[in-house]
Amino acid sequence: MSVLCLVELDGADPADVSLRALTLGRTLGDSSIGVVVFADSASVPVSALADYGVTDAYVIEPGTLEGYAPQAWGRILAGLAAETGATAVLAAGTDRGNEVLAHLGAITGLPMAANCTVVTPDGGRTHRIVRHRWAGLLLEEAVMEAPVALFTVATDAVAPVPAAVSAEKPASLQVHVHKPELAEADLVVRAAESAGRAGGASLATARVVVGGGRGVGGADGFAPLEELAELLGGVVGVSRVVTSEGWRPHRQQVGQTGTKITPELYLACGISGAIQHIAGCAGAKHIIAINTDPDAPILAHADYAVIGDLHQVIPALVAALRAR
């Protein structure tokens, strides 16, 4: 029983989400866990991966495949799974992880379960799975019957835990430079990368998010929220209705079809709390709601609440903060 995990890199380190996937993946095999890394072999974070119990790293260097080509990545995983006799292949449930594993599923004709929170071997070809539906607002319990279990791990489901320093932890990690033959058809779709949108704190990583919803009232109502966000060292996020109305650009949307945020504080102003919005802000450490409706669903998710009109509360709060 061996397991293969696609590892994404974050600079010189394994991405945090990949370490989470490895933590789950490690529980499935009985001996070895291999990782697939697309990088120069000199820059593979060997010791960080060994800490997580990895025994083998299969490295595809830029000389073999330059840039991100989702179908080629899926093809390479399929080849390595066959070569190593893997009984499970997994990745973090990122856009990229889900995409590559879906290609792997299509190439092999096997099922693929996206965004799992629990995967447990249940004898033979069977795995019992719990996975996200509705972006984690619902959980699905499912059974997977397949010679190789293909799945991704929900990015917030499993805490990253290094392997115990004992028999479980191997003395060393072997690096294998892998040079697969790639068919032209697998390389048709390939990313040309360039710097993304410049400037501004990112919504996904902001320490404070000031959220505005329908209660803001219109496109010209956001200035006080911007001012408050700046005072608190944060950024403005909005609900889906705000972007659907065209009041603010979609990149500011917090929610199932927008950005998932994980700030210290989410200050939800004039947001009723539709469940798709909660899917995006549930990762906030603290939530304060400002709402005219004491029965708004957002209050069931908030730690603190002010019942009132944001158009009065926010300017008063800004004035109080400026007076400090």
Binding site: A113, W134, L138, V188, V189, S202, L232, Q256, G273, A305
Partner: protein, 250 residues
């Protein structure tokens, strides 16, 4: 340009999501239904492409008879033709769904198939990719910007702060995300046309898949009573105190 857009009927859940007593479905007694959000944008994108470059938009859904409501919604936005792949209400898995769509694509012939990146309900993240493999077509997913020319498409998205541009020859499969455009509201003439339009139907055979749903449940809730800080601007001193206690002001 012949474009097929695949949409899914999903419950419009508001402030709460609940499961039926048998644990098999989302309880929809209190909810309406809509087109899954990414796919609403796929419809808009297809209509915009044909407005610029000519051609026609067909819309397809796989689902129960009731999903005709979503097909008519897409017709009202500017799609010209509607296809219902009718099920008996049971869920098709992603493999069977992709196979059923592929059969329609082969029978009719399209230059471009648009889908949402993932359905709001099942979140399988794979129907578009499996469809592309069935057809032997290139595919790009999660696209937030699309430009189409007779020789192909350029599809753009962002991943971890880096912009990725993909160049695909046609025919191709593209899955899009909300934000690629702002869907229009249906016009009155559009709605009237949609009401009268014929819907083509067929009933694809489903097949059991290696991933089988057993039950749905709502995750254990950390719901609690919010601490009330007061009403209106009077609450501001307490609000400032809480911000300070939470370490936000330091």
């Amino acid at each position: 340009m012949e474009i097929l857009v695949c949409v899914k009927r999903v419950p419009t859940v508001g402030g709460k999501i609940a499961v039926t007593p048998d644990g098999q479905e989302v309880d929809t007694r209190m909810s309406g239904f809509s087109i899954s959000p990414h796919e609403e944008c796929a419809v808009e994108e297809a209509v915009q492409i044909t407005e610029r470059a000519g051609g026609s938009v067909s819309v397809l859904t796989l689902g129960p008879e009731a999903a005709v409501e979503q097909l008519r919604g897409a017709l009202a936005l500017g799609a010209g033709r509607a296809v219902l792949l009718e099920t008996d209400g049971r869920e098709f898995g992603p493999i069977a769904t992709a196979a059923a769509i592929a059969a329609e694509v082969r029978a009719h012939g399209y230059d471009l198939v648009l889908l949402g990146n993932e359905a709001a309900d099942t979140g399988d993240y794979q129907v578009g990719i499996r469809l592309a493999h069935e057809l032997g077509w290139p595919v790009a997913t999660g696209i937030k910007n699309l430009s189409v020319s007779p020789d192909g498409v350029v599809a753009r998205r962002e991943y971890r702060g880096v912009e990725e541009a993909y160049q695909l020859p046609l025919p191709a499969v593209i899955t899009v995300k909300e934000g690629i455009n702002l869907p229009r509201y249906p016009s009155l003439p559009g709605r009237l046309r949609a009401k009268r339009a014929a819907v083509e139907r067929s009933s694809p055979a489903g097949a059991a898949e290696g991933l089988r749903k057993e039950a749905l449940r709502v995750p254990a809730s950390d719901k609690h009573q919010a601490t009330m800080l007061g009403n209106g601007a009077e609450a501001v001193p307490d609000l400032v105190r809480v911000l300070d206690e939470l370490g936000i002001l330091s």
